[in-house]
């Protein structure tokens, strides 16, 4: 299936990105080219092969539930692009 500009815009929204028309056109061509290359995997029969998310077969790694010092709020807010009253500041989201 060919990657169209519409597909790019759909995926861009899921990715929280925006592209100009020209950029979307270019991205469509490049994604199409790369995804076509990836389709060579279809040459392999993987029926009954278990997918491997991770090479290390771990399930849960437990630790004791201990109270330890946390980061200082002002320290963490130093990197915030905008802040007010000890909180991150964002545009109003509830009318």
């Amino acid at each position: 299936m060919k990657v169209t500009k519409e597909t790019v815009n759909y995926v861009a929204n899921l990715s929280r990105l925006t592209f100009t028309d020209e950029e979307a056109e270019k991205m469509a061509g490049q994604m199409d080219h790369i995804l076509r290359y990836m389709e060579q995997l279809n040459k392999l029969d993987t029926t009954d092969v278990t997918p491997m998310e991770h090479v290390k077969p771990i399930s849960n790694v437990f630790r004791d539930d201990l109270v330890v010092p946390s980061y200082d709020r002002s320290e963490l807010l130093k990197n915030a692009p905008n802040q007010e009253n000890g909180a991150f500041k964002v545009p109003k989201i509830v009318e």
């Binding site: 990715s15 929280r16 994604m31 790369i34 290359y37 090479v55 915030a80």
Partner: protein, 473 residues
């Protein structure tokens, strides 16, 4: 000069930690304008650390890393020192904590000279994707240093640091080491804590050293490896000294040479050097046998699906709210997210996020992502089987030597194909090392890659050391 030699000079009081640190800042001042390896220098902290290091040396408490000036890839968090990931989106980010590896270096009074350049978020193979500047290859300033740990490789090769740390998700330590003529070690997944390494593809990322010699790589590994409560995927290998077998005879060891590693696409000069290296091993009594490794032909496709999928998820945290770049241009929260991300990320990073989101999206998940994870099982199974018989796998690190700056930037797929020999190692979580094995007709360095069994870095270092010593004779 190596860690080992400077360590001996420091403990013999032939040089002080402060003198050594100043010497390296002199090197940086002289050479970095041309090379462009560093993004940030932290001279004040380094000088303070040099004084602490000297105290340790005077009290005879020095480890091999104490007082040795080094550099850190700028995707590894350093408290109070800017950590940019080579990205506009983190241009002014100052971490409130140290990565575990940095804590380990600090506890040994290692001298951090500064933070070095990389492809944005470690995505790329030439360091051309850095938001800040290009880094040039110390052997030829018209060529790339490789990537993504291009700054790490270039600063070590030009002696602007005794050694450096890099990160390797699909070859990002080994390929720049090969392009810059130095040693690059990607340890087994889980050997070194990833805590504080800014995540790109969490199931593939691993920190490792770039050094001038194999022995130095072992010494750095000794200083930074180990299980960490802040990284639940880290492992206790039970090894306290990775150099313990390094100087042992390699006679009767067995190496596998995958037939497709020498197939078409490999530059003739590189092929010649690898064949020459195989002869060196055979002369030392190592058996080298040709084997089939059919699934690795599919490794690049699987790798770019898996790594992009994980990246699209990991990079969702850059939202212009908690830290990092925020666009000035928005009317609501959605626009804040979209514009901050679109203005803050570079082209390659956006391409990976898009590919990753696509392969994870409903309707394509099974065809791409699940398929790639199944192929991952096949690739790992094939390696596991080989290691029942062999001590290591031998081949080239990269299909070519360093290419020209700007030569491959127009074709992303062409750039991806350069990772052919390195990505399968990350997919299977194995350790691998790139060591210098000669030069091509343009006098550019060639890298030999050795792949080892999981958690058997001791044998990998032994094999690499034997070759290094043999060709130095």
């Amino acid at each position: 000069m190596t860690i080992l030699k400077y360590h001996q000079m420091l403990i013999n009081k032939e040089i002080s930690a402060l003198e050594l640190t100043n010497l390296y800042y002199d090197h940086i001042e002289k050479n970095d304008e041309q090379i462009g390896a560093y993004i940030t220098l932290c001279k004040e902290q380094a000088m303070n650390m040099a004084n602490r290091a000297q105290e340790k040396i005077n009290n005879q408490q020095a480890t091999y890393l104490t007082g040795i000036p080094m550099a850190i890839k700028d995707n590894i968090c350093t408290k109070d020192i800017k950590t940019t990931c080579g990205s506009k989106i983190l241009e002014n980010f100052i971490p409130p904590y140290n990565a575990t590896v940095v804590e380990k270096l600090n506890s040994q009074e290692a001298i951090i000279l500064g933070k070095v350049n990389l492809d944005e978020f470690a995505m790329g193979g030439s360091t051309e994707n850095s938001y800040f500047h290009k880094t040039t290859n110390p052997y030829d300033n018209t060529k790339v240093p490789g990537g993504s740990s291009g700054g790490s490789a270039a600063c070590v090769a030009s002696d602007m640091a005794v050694y450096a740390l890099g990160s390797d998700t699909g070859g990002s330590i080994r390929q720049p080491a090969a392009f810059c003529g130095i040693v690059g070690l990607k340890p087994t997944y889980g050997t070194i804590s990833r805590n504080g390494l800014v995540a790109f593809a969490s199931s593939l990322d691993q920190i490792g050293p770039l050094t001038k010699t194999v022995e130095d790589a072992g010494l750095v590994l000794n200083g930074i490896a180990g299980i960490d409560k802040f990284d639940s995927t880290s492992s206790n290998s039970g090894i306290s000294d990775y150099t313990v077998n390094m100087k042992n005879d390699v006679k009767n060891k067995k190496l596998a040479l995958p037939k497709n590693y020498l197939a078409s696409g490999l530059a003739p000069d590189v092929k010649q050097s690898i064949l020459q290296a195989i002869k060196v091993y055979e002369k030392m009594g190592v058996t080298v046998e040709e084997v089939d490794l059919q699934f690795t032909d599919y490794a690049i496709a699987a790798y770019y699906i898996i790594s992009s999928a994980e990246a699209s998820s990991n990079l969702a945290r850059y939202d212009g709210v908690k830290y990092g770049y925020r666009s000035e241009n928005f009317n609501n929260l959605l626009e804040l997210y979209k514009n901050s991300r679109s203005e803050g990320f570079g082209e390659e990073v956006k391409r990976r996020i898009m590919l990753g989101t696509y392969v994870l999206s409903s309707g394509y998940y099974d065809a791409y992502y699940k398929k790639a994870l199944q192929v991952r099982t096949l690739i790992k199974g094939e390696f596991d089987k080989l290691f029942e018989t062999y001590d290591g796998i031998i081949g080239p690190t990269a299909p070519t030597t360093a290419y020209g700056i700007g030569e491959k930037t127009d074709d992303p797929l062409e750039m991806y194909l350069g990772d052919i020999y390195t990505v399968s190692v990350n997919i299977a979580g194995l350790p691998a090392i790139s060591i210098p094995c000669g030069f091509d007709s343009q006098k550019l360095p060639i890298g030999l890659q050795l792949i080892g069994k999981a958690f058997d870095e001791t044998t990998l270092l032994q094999l690499a050391y034997a070759y290094e010593q043999e060709v130095a004779k």
